[in-house]
């Protein structure tokens, strides 16, 4: 009949590695003797301790060549997987000789000192807006006011209208004036008002082509005197 293999006891292993047979206390000795003989204990201890030393001392490393091959294979796979990142990585990790980089930097500095200072830097700052215009000026075309009335003899309607004025009495004159009160213009029959300077300001520095007309303050005063006398 085949002997049933005995299981390796972890507690026994821990004791073997920690204590020699002579240093075991009574409880430990009892436990060990229930498991293995003294000779076995000593031989197992020698084996395990010396094996540990041997394994630690003889550890060997793989060749550096293996790592290089694996790194290349991994880089290849990574390149296939991330072509965009690899391209960026290549640019960022681009290697160049130090003298090239230093020469480039020196050239840039020289360019800056010789050419960069000729033209002073113009700082174009936008004006700070303190307020905004809230009033809108609307230019209106010059108002053409006809302040000269021509009374033609041939017009029956006008003849009738101004028939009283032709009597050249003061009342007639006043009535005519009243008709034109809205325009505030004194008009006398067949009297042309020319030769007066245009009182309006020229628009856009262009002299107005409107014929000069109007009244003078002197005439206005005369009119006011007349009206005072009438009323």
């Amino acid at each position: 009949m085949r002997e049933r293999p005995v299981e390796w006891n972890s507690q026994l292993e821990e004791l073997i590695l920690r204590k020699s047979y002579e240093n075991l206390d009574t409880a430990e000795l009892t436990f060990v003797q229930s498991q293995i003989s003294e000779t076995d204990y000593i031989e197992y201890r020698i084996l395990l301790l010396k094996s540990k030393q041997s394994f630690a001392a003889n550890q060997i490393k793989p060749k550096a060549d293996v790592q290089k091959k694996l790194a290349a294979a991994m880089a290849q796979r990574s390149k296939v997987q991330q072509p965009f990142l690899t391209a960026i990585n290549q640019v960022l990790n681009y290697r160049m000789p130090a003298w090239q980089a230093l020469t480039g930097a020196a050239a840039m500095l020289l360019c800056f000192f010789f050419f960069g200072q000729k033209k002073p830097m113009v700082v174009t700052s936008r004006p700070t807006i303190v307020f905004q215009t809230d009033t809108v000026f609307k230019k209106q075309p010059a108002l053409l006011v006809h302040d000269t009335i021509y009374l033609k003899e041939g017009s029956a309607r006008k003849q009738k209208k101004y028939s009283k004025a032709s009597s050249s009495t003061i009342e007639d004159t006043v009535s005519i004036l009243a008709l034109n009160a809205t325009k505030d213009i004194v008009v006398k029959k067949n009297q042309k008002v020319y030769g007066k300077e245009n009182l309006d300001m020229p628009v856009n520095n262009v002299a107005s082509t409107i014929p000069q007309e109007g009244r003078s303050a002197k005439k206005d005063k005369a009119l006011m005197d007349l009206l005072e006398r009438v009323y």
């Binding site: 390796w8 020698i46 293996v66 991994m74 997987q81 960022l92």
Partner: protein, 210 residues
């Protein structure tokens, strides 16, 4: 991304794997730094102490991560998954190779001094460093003489310093099986290395000299 230095050495293995899936080369470099030496040593020990073969297997193992990183299930612990892959590679190699490692080393182990060398009182006076060197040679051969399963258990436990639970997960077998294999492996190797028991050596020496 550029300009942001990521501290990959602070990331767990599982997080590093996620970065490797995303194609981050630095994550792979970090993972290689963590595992390359121990995996190479694992292969070296299991594959007849052949350094070239260990290099090839290490390269192939990491190449699997590069080519098919999605094979790793993030719900698992990376180290145990990685060791599982490596162990399966070794098993396949054993299967492919008609010359089993025990057969390879059978002749050489016969040439090593037997226990009676020490009874002559020679080994008792060996300096400590020489003693360790001879021990290393004996240990290598003794491990190679173990069966495939026992060798795996012993190497994973005492060379790679993995827990019984982890070994159980890697080898896909119950914890009890791992423990019994460990006990058997220790018993076999210890019997081969009994010559290094100084107490026994002393007893032999005293008996011989009277």
């Amino acid at each position: 991304m550029f300009g942001i230095s990521k501290k990959y050495n602070e990331y767990s293995d599982e997080v590093l794997m996620q970065h490797i899936v995303a194609g981050k080369t630095k994550a792979f470099d970090e993972l290689y730094c963590r595992y390359s030496t121990q995996m190479h040593y694992y292969f070296y020990r299991l594959l007849y102490q052949d350094d070239e073969k260990a290099n090839d297997f290490t390269q192939n193992l990491f190449m699997k991560i590069i080519e098919k990183p999605t094979l790793f299930d993030n719900s698992r612990k990376f180290s145990t998954w990685f060791y599982s892959v490596a162990t399966n590679m070794c098993k396949n190699e054993y299967r492919r190779n008609s010359r089993r490692p025990t057969e390879v080393k059978e002749e050489s182990i016969k040439d090593l001094p037997e226990d009676n060398t020490f009874t002559n009182g020679l080994a008792y006076y060996l300096p400590e460093n020489l003693d360790q060197e001879i021990f290393d040679q004996y240990l290598k051969i003794a491990i190679d003489k173990l069966s495939k399963d026992h060798r795996l258990c012993f190497v994973l436990r005492y060379q790679q310093e993995l827990s019984v639970n982890e070994i159980s997960e890697i080898l896909d077998c119950p914890r009890g099986t791992v423990k019994s294999r460990l006990h058997y492996a220790i018993k076999i190797i210890a019997s081969k290395m009994a010559i290094f028991n100084t107490t026994r050596k002393k007893e032999h020496h005293e008996r011989k000299t009277g």
